[in-house]
């Protein structure tokens, strides 16, 4: 019988990455999907990654691409500087929700508003994972955090920030989508959206944004399987999936 190769490791994910993620964390799934997309589009040798701070920064050692470690919140500004001076490269940011949606919300909004021809991948897991589970801009009402020990209270903390919808209020962005990594079906849809986002950049259409709904078993205090259920029942009810804009 002839052997046919049906699956292989994406070229920019090494066999033994220097850095890994917690068991069950969807960062690794997301990176896998991005790396596959880069292979499929044939752009690995052109791609430059801008890592945010937090668990997203671990991508620095997990994905083998030319990359920049950006200060907290500044990845979109850094990506702007790279892309404007190297328009032939494919430039994307990989940031958490605290990074891109709180401390870096200005950089996010203004890169989007300038229609920078970059791709932004934002991981929304409702928490500051690396620093130990503090309240994020995306923490759900009632969801506990080390800095909201009784859960997010709207009267005190306000409501979760919907970053994709905020960006949708701007004229310039070309592509805005929210996807999730909690099921095979959703991972497939996510991959299609991420691919489309990079294609938009390749076609010079401008700012493309994909918000990836993710989990944090460690800081949510759940088993990986429990997080899948929590996402279906809570997170994805607050943050609706789908393509929000595709110019």
């Amino acid at each position: 019988m002839e052997e046919v190769k049906v699956y292989s490791r994406a070229s920019s994910i090494p066999k033994n990455p220097y850095i890994g993620f917690c068991p069950g964390c969807m960062h690794s799934t997301t990176f896998k999907v991005i790396a596959e997309v880069l292979d499929e589009l044939g752009i690995v040798d052109k791609t430059i990654e801008c890592n945010g701070v937090g668990c997203s920064g671990l991508g620095l050692g997990y994905v083998y691409l030319d990359n920049v470690f950006c200060a907290h919140g500044r990845a979109c500004a850094v990506a702007t500087g790279i892309k404007r001076t190297n328009p032939d490269n494919i430039v994307f940011t990989y940031q958490g929700d605290g990074d891109g949606g709180s401390i870096g919300i200005a950089e996010t909004i203004y890169a989007a508003n300038r229609g920078e021809n970059i791709t932004m991948i934002l991981i929304n897991n409702g928490t500051y994972g690396m620093t130990g589970g503090q309240m994020a801009p995306t923490t759900l009402v009632g969801q506990k955090a080390t800095t909201a020990p009784w859960g997010r209270n709207p009267e005190e903390h306000g409501y979760p920030v919907h970053i994709a919808e905020l960006l949708d209020s701007l004229t310039a962005p070309a592509y805005i989508a929210r996807v999730a990594m909690n099921s095979v079906q959703n991972v497939r849809k996510a991959k299609a959206c991420i691919k489309k986002a990079f294609q938009y950049q390749m076609e010079g259409k401008g700012f493309s944004y994909v918000e990836v709904m993710s989990n944090c078993p460690t800081n949510w205090g759940m088993s990986p399987l429990e997080t899948l259920e929590y996402m279906e029942e809570h997170t994805l009810k607050e943050f609706k999936l789908g393509e929000i804009r595709a110019k």
């Binding site: 691409l65 920049v68 470690f69 500004a77 702007t80 500087g81 001076t85 494919i90 950089e107």
Partner: protein
């Protein structure tokens, strides 16, 4: 060479363009707005990029990206804006990417005083961002020097793969003088500079079988065999060795009428040029007074100050647009407290007059 009558800001921006600056990002702040305004008009003519960032913070990080990609780039601001850029600068120093940052100093903080001053000496020379990183800090005293030093800053930044600061002030930014601008670098030369960076360390995209180019915490030196990255301490040691090298190779100062001087003025930038006038007046009256002017305030010119003979020099007068004096500590360190140091200071937009310096020098002679 043709002289042009230019405002400090214009001379600075045009010199940057001629040095090959092809990316500038900044945020409006007095008293250096003519710099971004100039770039906004000029960059499209040379195929460069001008961007108004959404903040000082964003601007400096845009420059971090452009620098990481191998393009000669610059940002500028004033004092409180530089405070906001400090984190970004320390990232560039950590990742060892070359960029030029110009500070047109004013009082502070923020709305505390927007008028010209020299009140960022400590920040520029001692603690621009955290992590103990250092920068070569050029301190022009005329517009011609501001033009020449801005130009030179790009070469120095590339030479050491480190950000360089041009420390000027609101006085110099706003005044006008005739300037002979430096020569325009050719597009071929600039392309070669960028290509060399990309071949060596700058971001370009992965090449199979070659090391990745990472702009990160370990970027300044090659990690040991088999190690993915250097430790922070490895990096600090590499950088510290470079800072020591600067002390040997990059110190620049001017001795002005120092022969037989019994009183020595210590001043940099705009304070130094005013001091020179005062010295001329005093010398004409028979007072033996001279000046040691740091042309670069980091690395500080310790040796000429250390060489002053306490048996012959009655006193040192630090002339600075800062109350209290900041440079005095470096002068004290260099002279080992062997010579009495006095100060002649103003701040927050008040300019030191030649008469004030003359008077203060005479006071030292009268002691």
């Amino acid at each position: 060479m043709e002289r042009q009558f230019l405002k400090g800001c214009e001379a600075i921006a045009e010199s940057a363009v001629r040095a090959g600056c092809r990316f500038y990002a900044g945020y409006p702040i007095t008293p250096q707005n003519e710099i971004p305004e100039y770039f906004a008009r000029r960059m499209p003519e040379v195929g460069g990029v001008y961007l108004q960032g959404e903040s000082e913070v964003a601007s400096v990080n845009m420059v971090y990206g452009a620098a990481g990609g191998g393009t000669r780039c610059m940002t500028s601001s004033a004092s409180c804006g530089i405070s906001l850029k400090a984190e970004g600068m320390s990232y560039m120093a950590m990742a060892r990417v070359p960029a030029v940052v110009l500070n047109a100093q004013r009082g502070g903080p923020g709305v505390g005083d927007i008028r010209p001053a020299q009140q960022d000496y400590f920040q520029a020379t001692k603690a621009l961002g955290n992590g103990g990183f250092q920068y070569i800090v050029l301190a022009p005293s005329t517009i011609q020097e501001a033009a020449d030093m801005t130009y030179e800053a790009f070469d120095l930044a590339d030479k050491y793969r480190n950000p360089v600061m041009v420390l000027t002030d609101g006085f110099t930014a706003a005044m006008m003088e005739p300037v002979v601008l430096p020569e325009q670098k050719s597009e071929e030369e600039l392309a070669a500079i960028k290509a060399a960076k990309k071949a060596d360390w700058a971001l370009k995209g992965k090449v199979e079988g070659q090391p990745l180019h990472k702009i990160s915490f370990n970027a300044g030196s090659k990690p040991p065999q088999g190690k993915f990255m250097n430790t922070g301490e490895d990096r600090n040691k590499t950088d510290a060795a470079m800072y020591e090298l600067w002390k040997e190779e990059e110190v620049r100062y001017e001795e002005y009428r120092l022969d037989n001087a019994e009183v020595v003025i210590a001043a940099y930038g705009v304070a130094a040029r005013i001091s020179a006038t005062a010295i001329n007046i005093l010398r004409a009256e028979g007072y033996k007074v001279g000046m040691i002017r740091p042309i670069r305030v980091n690395p500080f010119p310790e040796k000429p100050y250390a060489a002053l003979d306490p048996a012959k020099v009655k006193g040192i007068l630090v002339v600075e647009h800062s109350i209290p004096s900041q440079m005095i500590y470096d002068v004290k360190l260099a002279t080992g407290n062997t010579i009495q140091i006095d100060t002649c200071l103003r701040s927050c937009g008040e300019i030191i007059s030649r008469d004030q310096i003359v008077e203060d020098v005479k006071k030292i002679f009268a002691k």
